[in-house]
C-alpha cells in the first residue's frame, strides 16, 4: 500500500477514487508517567513521556486508516493528513485521513 501526502503518484495513474478513509485514536500514558512528565516540564527540555505518547497515537491512527483503505481494496492512499486535538490534558488524539484510490501504470 502506497501512502503519500501528495495528490498524485509519479508513474502511476489514479483509475478510481474510492473515497475518504480515516483512522483515529485517543491514548494516554499511565498516571505515574504523567507525574514524571510534569516534573520534566518544570525544568524544560524534551518530555519523552509525551513524545512517546504522540508517536504511539500517530502510528495507531495511521494503521486504522490503512486498515480501512485495505478493506475498500485500495492500492494507495493519497493526500494523507494528520490532525490532532486535546481530549484531556493527559491524553492525545490523532486522526489520520486521506483519499483511497486504485492505481494503474501510467500509459
Amino acid at each position: 500500500m502506497i501512502v503519500v501526502t501528495t495528490d498524485l503518484i509519479p508513474g502511476r495513474e489514479i483509475v478510481e477514487t474510492l473515497g475518504l478513509v480515516r483512522g483515529n485514536t485517543v491514548r494516554s500514558r499511565h498516571a505515574l508517567r504523567v507525574v514524571a512528565a510534569v516534573f520534566k516540564q518544570f525544568f524544560g527540555g524534551e518530555v519523552h513521556e509525551y513524545t512517546k505518547l504522540l508517536a504511539e497515537t500517530r502510528e495507531q491512527a495511521l494503521d486504522r486508516m490503512l486498515a480501512e483503505a485495505r478493506a475498500q481494496g485500495a492500492d494507495a492512499v493519497v493526500g494523507v493528513r494528520f490532525a490532532s486535538s486535546e481530549i484531556s490534558t493527559a491524553a492525545a488524539e490523532f486522526m489520520a485521513y486521506g483519499t483511497a484510490v486504485k492505481l494503474a501504470p501510467k500509459r
Binding site: 500500500m1 512517546k52 508517536a55 504511539e56 497515537t57 502510528e59 495507531q60 485495505r70
Partner: protein
C-alpha cells in the same frame, strides 16, 4: 534447529497474511472467527503487528539518548528517583488511609459515612478492574514499544 530456522506453520503464515491485510474477504472472516476462540492466534497476530510497527517507526538514537541511558544506570540517580517515588506512593496511600480513618471516627451521620464508603469502594473496584483489563491486553498492544 532454532525457532528462527524452522519453516513457519500454516497458522503462522495465516497470521502474517492477516496482519499484512493480504487475506481476501472470506478468508479474513474465517480467520476472525478463529481469533475469537484462539488466544494463541491473537498473540501471533499481535506479535506481527508489533514488529511491523517497530520496523516502520525505527529511528537511530540521538546523542541525548546515550546520556539518558547512562544516567538511568547511575546509582545515585536510580537511588534518588526510587526513593522519591516510594515516598510519594507511600505518602499518598498513608494520606488516603488517614482520610478514611478520620471519616470513620468523625461525627458524620451513618448514612453519610456509608455513602463515602460506597464511593471509596466504587473507586477501588472501577480502578482495579480497569487495571485488570489493561494488564490483560497490554501484551497485545503493538504500539507500546514505539519511542518517537
Amino acid at each position: 534447529m532454532s525457532p528462527e530456522e524452522r519453516e513457519p506453520s500454516a497458522d503462522e503464515l495465516l497470521a502474517m497474511a492477516y496482519a499484512d491485510g493480504e487475506l481476501g474477504a472470506a478468508a479474513r472472516r474465517d480467520f476472525e472467527a478463529r481469533l475469537a476462540n484462539e488466544p494463541a492466534l491473537v498473540r501471533e497476530v499481535a506479535e506481527h503487528l508489533r514488529l511491523d510497527v517497530l520496523a516502520r517507526s525505527a529511528a537511530g538514537p540521538e546523542p541525548a539518548d546515550f546520556e539518558w541511558k547512562r544516567l538511568s544506570q547511575d546509582t545515585l540517580q536510580r537511588g534518588g528517583l526510587g526513593l522519591g517515588w516510594t515516598l510519594l506512593l507511600v505518602g499518598a496511600l498513608a494520606l488516603l488511609a488517614w482520610t478514611g480513618w478520620t471519616v470513620a471516627v468523625s461525627d458524620l451521620d451513618l448514612a453519610a459515612k456509608l455513602a463515602l464508603a460506597a464511593v471509596g469502594l466504587g473507586v477501588v473496584l472501577v480502578g482495579g478492574f480497569t487495571l485488570r483489563a489493561r494488564l490483560a491486553t497490554l501484551h497485545l498492544d503493538p504500539y507500546r514499544d514505539i519511542e518517537r
